[in-house]
Amino acid sequence: MSEYGMRRRKKVCRFCENKIDFIDFKDERSLRRFVTDRGKIVPRRISGNCARHQRKLTTAIKRSRHMAILAFASESFR
């Protein structure tokens, strides 16, 4: 990184990178890494997801909240 004199590395969408095109709302472990400790969805700016996958991810997270797989808010703050 510093060798090239760049301050920030370009983030790559992790769904594109791994060729994951279907985001299952039941896949708790995958979704977990895109929400904060408090249960908020991590913004694209931080996670580096592309718009397309962030959109799908958001839908999946919201679905999984409805199905009580992910929390709406973190337990400690409820």
């Binding site: 990184m1 510093s2 004199g5 301050r7 920030r8 983030k11 992790r14 791994n18 994951i20 279907f22 985001i23 299952d24 709302f25 039941k26 896949d27 708790e28 472990r29 995958s30 890494r33 700016r45 931080i46 996670s47 580096g48 679905r63 909240r65 409805h66 199905m67 009580a68 797989i69 992910l70 929390a71 709406f72 337990e75 409820r78």
Partner: protein, 171 residues
């Protein structure tokens, strides 16, 4: 004909027979309408992320099926009228149908990488506290004192000079 997935949660404290009845009731509705069951997955009892009607656990079932859209209101009606369904969700399904052996709560990333969040956690930031202090004072950024935990991913968003960060990271 479209592919749908319907997932629902029933009370796990009910006896096995009545849980079974509640699941087969849904299957029957789909079949009665000419739908084809592609996969019936009884995920089983799982902790709920938050209590619903006083329950902390739920029995999850997911059914993937091909059907005309006409079943959906029938399913909906059944879910609403029958007491034991504590949550339900029917959505268009466009994913791959995984074999029954794999738990749907497994991570899609498991096959391709470890459990860490990208490569960010492995990075060393050096003397961040020190740098941040001088940084904010002379680039004129105000009101930007978020705690270190939340800020790890966005080092120096708008540093006009840009020089100091390079030096710091080269160490």
């Amino acid at each position: 004909m479209r592919r749908y997935e319907t997932t629902f949660i029933v009370n796990p404290q009910a006896d096995d027979a009545s849980i079974d009845r509640q699941v087969t009731a849904i299957v029957d509705i789909i079949k009665a309408d000419g739908g084809e069951i592609l996969r019936e997955n009884r995920i089983g009892t799982r902790r709920l992320a938050f209590p619903i009607v006083g329950l902390t656990q739920g029995y999850y079932t997911s059914i993937i099926f091909d059907s005309e859209a006409g079943v959906l209101p029938k399913l909906e009606r059944h879910y609403k009228l029958e007491e034991p369904y504590i949550r339900y969700l029917t959505v268009r399904f466009d994913g791959p149908i995984v074999s029954d052996g794999i738990s749907p709560f497994d991570s899609a990333f498991d096959q391709v990488e470890g459990d860490s969040y990208g490569d960010r956690q492995h990075r060393s930031y050096g003397f961040r506290g020190d740098r941040r202090h001088s940084h904010s004072s002379d680039s004129g950024r105000t009101g930007h004192s978020s705690p270190p935990a939340g800020d790890t991913a966005s080092p120096a968003h708008d540093n006009p000079a840009g020089g100091r960060d390079d030096v710091e990271e080269a160490r």
